[in-house]
Structures are given as structure tokens and as C-alpha cells.
Amino acid sequence: MANIFPKATNLIVLKAGFALSIVGMLVALAVWYYFTPKYSRVGYEPVQPVYFQHDLHVGQLGLDCRYCHSYVEVSGHSNYPTTQTCMNCHTQIQKDNPKLKPIRDSWASGQPVEWVKIHNVPDYAYFNHSAHVSRGVSCVSCHGKVNEMNVVYQKEPQSMAWCLNCHRNPAEYVRPLAADKPGATSPIYNLDWTPPKGTSQGDLGAKLVHDWKIKPPTDCGACHR
């Protein structure tokens, strides 16, 4: 009796197995990627109770980050602005704009505005804003160009590997604290800042890291305690 399966079928099982394992690995990789902060967090852009436009306030009007996030230099938290901060201007400007109704209601009632958190560091990680901005890390390194965002979204994955990337190579990111020319915004808060002509970030950063004795910790205890 003739063979039902031609000789070529001998390898089908192997081939199919090989192909399936490739597919399996791809699926695993895809699932893996799906759960990493690179996929799950980057781009998170929740709807806020108030349609606040960072591109308008920072990009066009030129407000300093610290006008609203006023304690970033002295506290671990970079605070959300109080309703009072909004009302400093909006008692005069756009004072009847319906989009600002939640702010006016909050001011009248004393109930705070509940902003939706975009960047969330887990409870077991203790990130400190003041430590970073006083050592030459600009807002833009972690939050992206907020001055160009209409509604703020998460730009960076903010995973531990991403944190360590900078802690291991600080020269790539460290900026001078002083403005290039008098009256200009400090490079920390000037999100569009680029190294002056003739220097590169690498050289400038390396010099600052050396001069300021920057030794970012890579120990667990630096953030986890």
C-alpha cells in the first residue's frame, strides 16, 4: 500500500512547530510590550475637569512653570496650583468664560478642583522634584515639551529603567541653572533651551557633572524606603 503521506510531509510537523514557536514568541513579546510603561503609560491623556491649555499659558503667554507649580524647588512634590493661583488672573481675564466655571465654583465654595493625575510614581518610589531641579535636571527631561501640549499627556514611560538611564548617564541631561543672558528663564524651566552654539549637551553636561560633583545614586535606598 502506497504511503498516504508523501515524503515531504515528514518535515511538516517540525516546520509547523518551528513556525508556531516563532508566533508564540512574537505573541509573548507583544503582550510583554503591552504591559510595559512604554505602551501602557506613554500617551496617557486624561480629560481634566478644566480645559487647561499648557500651550497657551506657557508657550504663548510665557508663564514660568513655577508660577503655578510654585514649590518645585523646595519640596519633593511639585504642587498643583491652588484655585487661588488661577483666580489671581481670572478674576480679571476671561472672568466669564464658561470653561472656567469649575474654577469659579471652587473659589466660591472652597471645594478644591480634583485634577486628574497624569504622571504617577508608585507609592513605594520616593521621587523628589527639588533634588532634581536643583541639580540641573529640566522639567522637559521627564515631562516633555509641555509648552507645546494643548492638553498634557505623558511623554516618557517613567519606568525604573528609564530613571536609571539618566542616573547612569547624567551628562546627557544636566543643564546649567543660570540663564544664558540676564533676564532669560533658567534652562531648567525653559523647555526650548538648547546648548549655546559651539557646545554640545555631552560636553556641557560632563563639565557640570564634574563641577557640581553630581553623583546620582543608583542604590535601591535612594528611591525605595
Partner: protein, 1153 residues
């Protein structure tokens, strides 16, 4: 090559160190327990109230429920909620610090409170106040938990049927009634009105009292506190620092007396007079009945019943030439006579620098004798004079029984619980028509009152107080609005005196004015006044001392007759009362203090009747003691240890019980704890336990919440045996064994390390001969020198073995700690400070029995017995354990350079930092517990349950019976036993926001307060931007911060800091020759080191040769030859003690490569 650690055998000469009677007897049972990583049952679910299978069923069901809806797969939306208006000074995420003070028995302790977003989280001492070093005691550290106690009284309660039925009323109801009361009593001059309160050092309260007594001339103002000094002048503040010879007559000035923070500080300063300058360290004698902290620190200790103290004092007075003196024929003991003679000679030779202190519970006659002795010796103390004259509790009781009291205010205190037993005060209160109670808790006294008003905690109210010295004027300011609408005592008294409701600190300002000399009686708001006031509140103390200040002991007081107290007859027992970890019972609902082991007995959650081993034998309750008659050890009787407790526990924790009957027929059934060092025939019982919460119906519970959940049922009420005639001790007590046992949670054997030169000591003489005596103890001299010394500083060039390879840099700090065993008095302050700082949960009595307590720092208490000259180095009879010497050793993670815990972690959850910390990443920990298994110091703690998330009391369930809520797991919930879940809101407010709250299944341990380290470093970085760039100095200033334990230590025995900074306190301490590392010969190179203890025996004293006798590990000793097989393996050809050559150096690298 595998390195084999050869542990040294127990020393056969010098001292044997032991932690418990079981260890002393060295039974096979004890060995078996010791070999375990955790005590019996700690690692198993079996034997718990819920079986393992049942637990899995619970878990399975809840997991299945949790899966429905896949709630876990959605990204939770989190909110950031800013203030609407900015709050002055408030920076989100940053702490604010305010000065305040804690009013305490005998005087207040100045404090600095740390507040996050308006919630106080931690209390520290205020070191700016003159006479204070910025330290606190355990009770002050635990006060923050009292503030957030979820069982605090929250609403006004009106009795519908006194003691049985309560209804909720409002504060307005109360004030309405209050106004009518005042109007009515103004008419008759206060006839029928009485106020019962606790003594207070508040000048404002004294002012209001005087005002009230003026307005209501017939008002009866009574003050009562259970533990007041019987001395005619009240508690006396002594100068311990400058005394050369201190004698304590039943006075636990380091443990339970008034003003311990300052006493410990002064005493420690006297013990620190040691070192290169060869100054004389002070010498402490203790004559006492119970082994107290003071007795533990004493160089010489005489163990006699409390009732004999008077006789001893008379005898001593005679010998130092003060007053009549006593012949002491009644005692007729040549040993005691020789002891007292030598003591008197030492005292007389130290005239002007000698001090005799007397226990506050000794009768007034004994105090007078002691005063005379002090006068003869030229030493005198000061005492605060009473601010206003008051009646006593017995005055009030008499008035009540005559029926003249119609309205009684009970402000604070808990007289229904702690009044002398013969008054039956709870029943008496119930006879008074109207009783208004102001209290923090709904307690025994509230149950007898007609109206209960919630009181404000001292951290919620304005106030003032005097320190223990009676002249330093301290301010109290509120750190948070009253959580439950409570009012302070001052607010109530002021309004009773017709003053308007105070706007903020108004009452205090009116008192403060005259103190600073501005305005008489009324505050005049001048600029000068305002400046002075703000300074007062800001600093926490007034620059001007309070007047009238203090009295000194009056000279030429009439010579008291020699004490007539007869010594105990054979077979007669005395019952002595003492204070334990919860003071007089007022802190009984504080879980931290309940779970804090008693410093000497290591008993938690209970009080027990302490008896000496000999007395135990006589009573037939000699559990765990060596047999008194026999000489062949061990002959330990464990037979009564079969528990009939409904809850299955390790049988070894079931203790026998006795019935104690006082001569006037009051009796109590109590568990017995055999306590080495206890005087024979003296039974000691701590006051304050045995609180009984009012029994409420479910409907009432909805109003009151469950009152006193922590205190209820813990221990036995010793006040039931205490009468006003015998507040300190009562003789002629009958004791009989009863056929019951009681489980006690004792931590003394938990986490025990075997005796390998862990604690090291020497007599002062030996120290002067050889300041580096610690190096000769243990087998340190045989260990590799590099690892033995570990990391000293960057220059010392310590290189860890390859397995631990890492580089250190001089610019980085290197953290280290040194603990001086010579000044550590074992007060537990560090333990509670750590608990408050690091969010450490309590676990409850039955978890402690299983050895699951979570304290990151524990205080090991070692008993020491000189075994020199004994065959085999083993003691022959129980006499050796009756007079032990004591050493305390605070033990936390040693932050080993070569930490054994690190390589065994399969997930790298515990690793080393570049600053030398052995850090834990909780979120990486998967709970294998390998690290705890491999830790030679037994300092790692495992979260067997979600301790932070569960209430600790037991509940009754239909099928399972009594169950600890800890075990209910996810099925526990909010409103009843089955639905309660989560930590009470108020407790969450206490948590330190800079420390993770750990969950079940995670290992934790001391971190050297890494959050404080990081905060200090970041604070310095912020300052580095001063020049406009980041070039400022980022080096931390010397000792700019410290760990929580070091900050709280009243003896300043713990120092923490940067080893790379040559000027830091810790660097200096580590240069001391007494510096050694525990188990350093293992090569762990611990960053925490200890300074050996030095005792100062009087050579003329009987038995002085045994005091501070150093354990010597000599090969020549006969015992060691016998035990030859266990001898420390010494490389051949190396003479004992010779320095190591490289050839002989044991090297860990060989292990690896």
C-alpha cells in the same frame, strides 16, 4: 576552600550570660527552640484560630469574587487635590515643626512636633530648652498614637440609666446644662459642687483654680493621682550628673519615677566620666525589692523586700552620722550589715558629691530619713512647690458619703479604676446626683457618670506647664484641631469661672503676662508682650523662669524616729506595687506601649506577679527554674505548662497562676512570672493593667465605637488590692497556687543569639589597666583583622571580599552607628521612636507569643552570672540566678559590610548601597525569608499578616469561636466582625509619609532611617543653588541630622552619623578603645558597633570581685580543656592572641575563588 566558622564555646571562667531561666538551665527544649529561625508556630498557620485549609477557602472565594468584572485590569484614575487657598507656611510634601510639651506626672517634657499637611506624625524632644538634650522617653514617643487612638471618645454621652444605657448628646446640650449649673452654684457659693482632677504643673490651671475657689468659696477642689510621692515635699529633682556615689532606696529613677528623661540624662553623663582623662565614673548602689532598670544599672545591688527599706535607711543614717539611726538588730544579717557598712563608708568619703534617693512609694518617714542622710552628706535636691492648695481624694470621698456633694466634675484621670480599693470609688460616684466627666476615653469612670464629655488631647489644645524642675515654663500649642470636638480642661474650668470661651491661647496669655513682668493678671497687648508671647510659643519655653520657683530641702527638719517597720517573718509575703510600661494605666489603650516589652522581664500585653526563684519554689510554681535542692543541672520542671487556654498556643507560654489575698481580705488571681533578681518573699505587681471597657450593647457601640479595644482584657487590675494606707507595698499577704494557667507573651527568648561575646564588660579597675579589654573577649583576636574592624573611614581602606565587591568613595558619606552599653539603661525609648518613625505595626498578644513582633530595634537584656571557679563553668544551684547582674544591648540591623542576608536573596531585594546601607526594596521582596534565616543577628522581621491593615482585638464568630481579626483576611470588613477591613482612618493620619507601609509577605528591618538620610542630602542639594548655579557645597554638615533612635535616646548612648567625617560623633565614638562589633569574627564587618560596659564596683563591698568580671576565653582554663572538641579552631603555630600573619588569615575569597 570552604570557610568553617568555629564559634567559641561558652566561657568557662568569668561570666555566663543568659537571657531567660530556660536558657540558664540549657534544657533540650530550649536548644530545640533556639535552633528555630522563628519561635514555635511563628512560621506555620497550623494551630491558629483559622486552619490553613479554612484560610485557603476564604482566599479562594475572595479571589474568585475579585475576578468578576476584572476591576484590576483598568487603569485607576487618580486625582491630585490642591488647596483652594494656600495655607500659611504650608508646603505640600514638606514637614513643619512646632514646639509644644507633654504634661506628665511630676512635670512636662518639652517637645518638637513634626507635622505633614496639618497632621502631627512624630514627636521629638526640644533640645533648646535648658536642661533638656532633645530626647524623650518611650511614653512621650507613644503620645502621638494616643492622639489618633481610634477608640477615643467622640461624642457627648448622656446616661439614661447610669452604667447601663447611654444616648448621644451634643456639645450644645452640655453647654446649656453648664450655664445653668454655674448660675445655680454662684447663688450658694458652690455648696455641693466638687471638682476632682489630676495634679497639674500648669500655672494657668492653678490660676483658674484660685479664681474658682474665690468665686465658689464652698467648692471642694480635690486632686488625685494613683502614683504620687509619699515624700512630704513631693517628688524631688536631684542632680545625678555631678554625683559620684548614688544610692537608690527602692527608687527606679531610671525607669518608672518622675522626670526620668532628665534623670537618665544626668546619670548617663556621670557614667560617661570615663576615658583618657581617667576621671571617676559615678558609682550606683541599688537597694530594692524588684529588679528595676535602676537596679540593672547598679554596680552593687542589694535585694531586700520593700518593707525593709525603712530599716535599711535607718541603719544607713546611723552609719553616716545622720540622725538617730537604727540598730537593725531585727534584721540580724551580718551580710547586710557588712554591705551597709561598706556603703556608708563610701558615701562618707564622697561627701558633697553623694546622693541618696528614695522611692516615691516608701512611707513619709523613710523619705525624712533619706532627707537627713542627704543633709549629712551635703547633697540636696530641689522640689517644685505646689502652685495652689487642693483637697485629696479622701476628702472628696468623705464629703460624698455625707451626701453633701450634688455636682461632681471629674476632669481627666480615671478614679473609678485607680482609686484606693477601700473607697469603692466607682460606687461612690454613682451616689452623686450629677457627675460630669471630661475624658479621652469612655472608660470605667464614664460608666459611673451622668454625662461624659470628650476631652481634647494635649496635642489638640492650648496650654502651659512647668518642667520637672518646677521653674522652666513651657508652652503647649495645638497642632491639629480637636479630632472629635473635644474640649480641654482649661476651657471647661475657665468657663466655669465665668470667663468667655477662649479665643485661642487667651487663658494662657493671661497667665503668661505676669510671668514676663508685663501686665498683672490681664494680658496687655503691647508690642513687647506680643514679641515675648510669640517667642514663647515659637521656642516652647519662656526665657524667664516661673516664680514662685522651687524649694530646697529644709534644713533641720525634726529627726524622724528610726523606722519601726519589722522585717518579714519566714513564710510571710509582701506585695509591692510598681509601674510598668503603661505608667499608672492611663496609657493602657496605647498599642505601642502595650506591645513594648517590659525592659527587665520582657513581658508584653500583660502584668504578672513577679516572684523570686526561691519564692516560686516555696509556692510550688517554679516554672523554668533550676531545682533549688539538686545540684545536677538541668532539673527543670516544665510540668505545669499545659495550657487550658481556649486558644492553642505553644505550651511553654502558659504560666501557672496563684491567688493573692491581702490582710484585709481582697484577693486576685494572677499569673506568676519567675523573675531573677527579685527579693525573696516579695511579690511585685505592676499597676494599670486590667482595664475594663464599659460593656455596651450593639446600639451603643454604634454611638461610642468599641471603647478601649487595646486595653480591655490585658492583664489584671492591681488597684483592686491597693488601699490608701499601703500605696507602695502591703505585708502579710497570703498566696496559694490555683489550678489554672495563663498565657503570657514574653519576648526574651525571641531572636536570641547564643552567648558569643555579644555583650562585653569589665570593672573600672580593669578598664584603667587595659582600656581595650573588649578585644580580649570572644575570639575576635583570632578573626581576620580587616573584617573585624570593618569600615572605619575611607582612609582605612577596607576592601570587602570579592563576593561583596564594591567601591567606596571619600565624597560619599559612610553611615555608621555606635551604641554605648555603658550608658544605655534599657529604657525602650529608641524602640518606640523607631516604631513611630518607620510605620511599624503592632501585632497583638497572640502574635507576640509566636514571635512575630515587628520591632526593628529590640533591647536584648542579658543576665550575667560569674561562674569563675565552678566545675565545667556551670552554676550549681539557683543562688546563681537570684542575684544576676544585668546588661542591656539595643539590637537592630547591623548594616553589615559583608551582609549574610544579601547573597541569599533570590530576587535581589536586599542589596548594599554605596553609602554602606544594607537596603531593602520592599516591592521586590517575595517573602522567601532566606535573609532572616541567614541573619546572625536575628534582626529581620517578616509581615506574616497585613498587620497595618487589621485591628488587633479578637472577635467571636458563630462557627470558628474567638478569632483574631488579623486572620479574617479579605473577608473582613467595615461594620462588624466579618465586614471590618482596613486600618482606622485616624491611625492612617499618624503614618510617616516618607516611609512605605509594608504589606503581608514582605521582609523588613532597620534602614538607619534612610528617609532621614535622603532628606538631609536633598536638603543640602537645595542649598547648593545659592550661588545661582549648582556649585555650592553638597557635603552634609557634621551631625546635621540623626536617626530616630539616636534622637530619642535620653542617655545619648546611641550615636549615628557619617564615618567619613572625622569630626562626627560616631567617628569619635568608634575611636574609643571599648569599641567592638558583635559577632565580628564572622567577618560580617558590621557598621553598628558597641562600646563595652564598665562597672564601678567598690572593692570593700562583699562580692565585689564578681562585679564586672570579664569573661575570658582562655585555652588554659580547665573547663575549656574538658570541652576540647568544641575549642575554637586556631590556626596552628599561632600563639593565642598573636596578631595574624597573612598566611593564617582566613579569607572569604577562598570561599569564592
Amino acid at each position: 576552600m570552604k570557610r568553617i566558622f568555629n564559634h567559641p564555646p561558652a566561657p568557662t571562667t568569668g561570666k555566663k550570660y543568659w537571657r531567660s531561666l530556660e536558657e540558664f538551665a540549657d534544657t533540650p527544649e530550649f536548644r530545640a527552640r533556639l535552633e528555630r529561625e522563628f519561635p514555635q508556630g511563628a512560621a506555620e498557620l497550623e494551630g491558629d484560630e483559622v486552619t490553613r485549609r479554612g484560610f485557603m477557602q476564604f482566599m479562594g472565594a475572595s479571589l474568585a469574587l475579585a475576578g468578576i468584572g476584572l476591576t484590576g485590569c483598568r487603569r485607576p484614575e487618580l486625582h491630585g487635590v490642591p488647596y483652594t487657598k494656600g495655607v500659611e507656611w504650608q508646603i505640600p510634601g514638606d514637614a513643619l515643626h512646632y514646639a509644644t510639651a507633654m504634661p506628665r506626672r511630676g512635670g512636662a517634657i518639652p517637645l518638637i512636633a513634626t507635622c505633614y499637611n496639618g497632621r502631627p506624625t512624630k514627636l521629638e524632644g526640644n533640645k533648646n530648652v535648658p536642661g533638656f538634650t532633645g530626647s524623650t522617653d518611650a511614653i512621650a514617643q507613644a503620645a502621638i498614637l494616643d492622639l489618633y487612638d481610634p477608640d477615643r471618645s467622640k461624642v457627648v454621652l448622656k446616661a439614661k440609666d447610669r452604667g447601663k444605657d447611654y444616648v448621644e448628646a451634643t456639645m450644645e446640650d452640655f453647654w446649656e446644662q453648664f450655664v445653668i449649673l454655674r448660675r445655680d452654684y454662684l447663688k450658694n457659693g458652690g455648696d455641693g459642687l466638687a471638682i476632682l482632677t489630676e495634679p497639674s504643673s500648669s500655672p494657668t490651671r492653678a490660676r483658674l483654680q484660685t479664681e474658682l475657689q474665690r468665686q465658689f468659696p464652698k467648692l471642694l477642689w480635690a486632686e488625685y493621682e494613683p502614683w504620687t510621692s509619699q515624700s512630704p515635699v513631693g517628688p524631688v529633682a536631684y542632680d545625678f550628673e555631678n554625683a559620684d556615689v548614688i544610692v537608690s532606696l527602692d527608687c527606679d529613677f531610671l525607669g518608672a519615677a518622675e522626670g526620668t528623661v532628665q534623670s537618665i540624662g544626668g546619670f548617663a553623663a556621670g557614667r560617661r566620666r570615663l576615658g583618657k582623662s581617667q576621671e571617676t565614673m559615678s558609682r550606683l548602689y541599688a537597694i530594692e525589692s524588684r529588679l528595676s532598670l535602676t537596679g540593672s544599672m547598679a554596680d552593687h545591688r542589694l535585694r531586700i523586700p520593700s518593707s525593709s527599706i525603712g530599716g535599711i535607711a535607718s541603719l544607713l543614717a546611723g552609719k553616716v552620722g545622720a540622725g538617730a539611726g537604727g540598730s537593725f538588730a531585727a534584721f540580724n544579717d551580718p551580710k547586710i550589715d557588712a554591705w551597709i557598712t561598706a556603703l556608708a563608708a563610701d558615701l562618707s568619703s564622697a561627701k558633697g558629691r553623694a546622693l541618696v534617693v528614695c522611692g516615691s512609694q516608701q512611707p513619709a518617714a523613710v523619705h525624712q530619713i533619706v532627707t537627713q542622710i542627704n543633709q549629712a552628706l551635703g547633697g540636696a535636691g530641689t522640689y517644685p512647690q505646689p502652685l495652689a492648695a487642693s483637697g485629696t481624694l479622701s476628702d472628696l470621698a468623705e464629703a460624698i458619703s455625707q451626701g453633701t456633694i450634688k455636682t461632681l466634675f471629674i476632669l481627666g484621670g480615671n478614679p473609678a479604676f485607680n482609686a484606693p480599693a477601700e473607697l469603692g470609688f466607682g460606687d461612690q460616684i454613682a451616689q452623686v446626683e450629677q457627675v460630669i466627666r471630661l475624658g479621652l476615653h469612655v472608660d470605667e469612670t464614664s460608666a459611673a457618670a451622668t454625662l461624659h464629655v470628650p476631652a481634647a488631647h494635649f496635642l489638640e489644645s492650648w496650654g502651659d506647664a512647668l518642667a520637672y524642675d518646677g521653674k522652666t515654663y513651657l508652652s503647649l500649642q495645638p497642632l491639629i484641631l480637636p479630632l472629635y470636638e473635644g474640649i480641654s480642661e482649661l476651657e471647661l474650668l475657665g468657663q466655669l469661672a465665668g470667663l468667655p470661651a477662649p479665643k485661642g491661647p487667651q487663658y494662657i496669655q493671661d497667665t503668661f503676662g505676669p510671668v514676663i513682668g508685663g501686665g498683672a493678671g490681664k494680658s496687655e497687648f503691647t508690642t513687647a508682650f506680643e514679641d515675648a508671647w510669640h517667642q514663647f510659643v515659637h521656642d516652647g519655653f519662656a526665657s524667664t523662669n516661673f516664680q514662685p520657683a522651687v524649694g530646697t530641702i529644709v534644713k533641720n527638719s525634726p529627726a524622724p524616729a528610726a523606722s519601726t517597720q519589722q522585717p518579714l517573718q519566714p513564710g510571710e509575703y509582701e506585695l509591692a506595687f510598681t509601674l510598668g510600661t503603661i505608667d499608672d494605666g492611663r496609657y493602657a489603650n496605647n498599642g505601642w506601649l502595650q506591645e513594648m516589652p517590659d525592659p527587665v522581664t520582657k513581658l508584653t500585653w500583660d502584668n504578672a506577679l513577679l516572684v523570686s526563684p526561691k519564692t516560686a519554689t516555696a509556692l510550688g510554681v517554679n516554672v523554668g527554674t533550676v531545682n533549688d535542692s539538686g545540684s545536677d543541672l538541668p532539673d527543670t520542671d516544665f510540668s505545669p505548662r499545659t495550657s487550658n487556654s481556649p486558644i492553642a498556643v505553644d505550651p511553654i507560654t502558659a504560666y501557672p497562676m496563684v491567688k493573692v489575698t491581702t490582710p484585709d481580705g481582697r484577693s486576685l488571681e494572677l499569673p506568676v512570672l519567675v523573675a531573677p533578681g527579685q527579693a525573696d518573699q516579695t511579690l511585685t505587681l505592676a499597676l494599670g493593667w486590667g482595664r475594663i471597657a464599659p460593656r455596651l450593647t450593639q446600639a451603643q457601640r454604634d454611638v461610642v465605637t468599641a471603647p478601649l479595644r487595646v486595653a480591655d482584657g490585658a492583664g489584671s487590675n492591681a488597684y483592686l488590692l491597693r488601699t490608701s494606707a499601703t500605696p507602695g507595698f502591703v505585708t502579710g499577704v497570703k498566696v496559694e497556687k490555683i489550678d489554672r494557667t495563663y498565657p503570657l507573651a514574653i519576648t526574651q527568648e525571641h531572636n536570641s543569639m547564643e552567648g558569643r561575646g555579644l555583650v562585653r564588660e569589665a570593672a573600672l579597675e580593669k578598664y584603667h589597666e587595659d582600656p581595650a579589654f573588649v578585644q580580649e573577649i570572644g575570639i575576635d583576636k583570632d578573626a581576620p583583622q580587616g573584617e573585624l574592624k570593618g569600615y572605619q573611614n575611607y582612609e582605612s581602606g577596607y576592601i570587602p571580599p570579592k563576593l561583596y565587591s564594591r567601591t567606596y568613595e571619600p565624597e560619599r558619606p559612610a553611615w555608621g552607628m555606635a551604641i554605648d552599653l555603658n550608658t544605655c539603661v534599657g529604657c525602650n525609648s529608641c524602640m518606640i521612636a523607631c516604631q513611630a518613625e518607620n510605620n511599624i505595626p503592632i501585632v497583638g498578644k497572640y502574635q507576640v507569643i509566636r514571635g512575630r513582633e515587628m520591632h526593628w530595634i529590640r533591647i536584648d537584656r542579658y543576665f550575667a552570672t560569674d561562674v569563675t571557679g565552678l566545675p565545667d563553668g556551670k552554676p550549681t544551684d539557683s543562688a546563681y540566678l537570684e542575684d544576676p547582674q544585668v546588661l542591656f544591648q539595643p539590637m537592630a540591623c547591623q548594616q553589615c559590610e559583608n551582609a549574610p542576608c544579601e547573597p541569599v536573596c533570590p530576587v535581589n531585594a536586599t542589596v548594599h548601597s554605596q553609602e554602606g546601607l544594607n537596603v531593602m526594596a520592599y516591592n521586590r521582596c517575595i517573602g522567601t525569608r532566606y535573609c532572616a534565616n541567614n541573619c546572625p543577628y536575628k534582626v529581620r522581621r517578616f509581615n506574616f499578616f497585613n498587620y497595618n491593615d487589621r485591628p488587633i482585638q479578637n472577635v467571636k464568630l458563630p462557627v470558628l469561636g474567638e478569632v483574631g481579626e488579623l486572620y479574617l483576611g479579605p473577608l473582613a470588613g467595615k461594620d462588624g466582625p466579618l465586614t471590618y477591613k482596613g486600618s482606622p482612618d485616624s491611625l492612617q493620619l499618624q503614618k510617616n509619609p516618607n516611609v512605605s507601609v509594608r504589606i503581608r509577605g514582605v521582609m523588613e528591618k532597620c534602614t538607619y532611617c534612610v528617609q532621614r538620610i535622603e532628606e538631609a542630602k536633598i536638603g543640602q542639594m537645595r542649598k547648593s543653588v545659592q550661588n545661582g548655579d549648582g556649585s555650592g557645597d553638597i557635603t552634609l554638615p557634621t551631625d546635621s541630622f540623626t536617626s530616630a533612635c539616636a534622637q530619642a535616646c535620653p542617655a545619648e548612648a546611641i550615636v549615628f552619623g557619617n564615618l567619613n567625617d572625622p569630626n562626627s560623633k560616631v567617628s569619635l565614638a568608634k575611636q574609643d578603645e571599648r569599641n567592638y562589633g558583635v559577632l565580628a569574627y564572622l567577618g560580617t564587618a558590621p557598621r553598628t558597633s558597641y562600646l563595652g560596659r564598665v562597672r564601678n564596683p567598690n572593692p570593700n563591698m562583699p562580692g565585689a570581685e564578681h562585679i564586672g568580671h570579664t569573661s575570658v576565653f582562655e585555652e588554659e582554663s580547665p573547663g575549656a580543656q574538658k570541652n576540647g572538641a568544641d575549642k575554637p579552631a586556631r590556626p596552628e603555630n599561632v600563639p593565642p592572641g598573636a596578631a595574624h600573619t597573612n598566611a593564617n588569615k582566613l579569607n572569604l575569597e577562598e570561599l569564592i575563588g
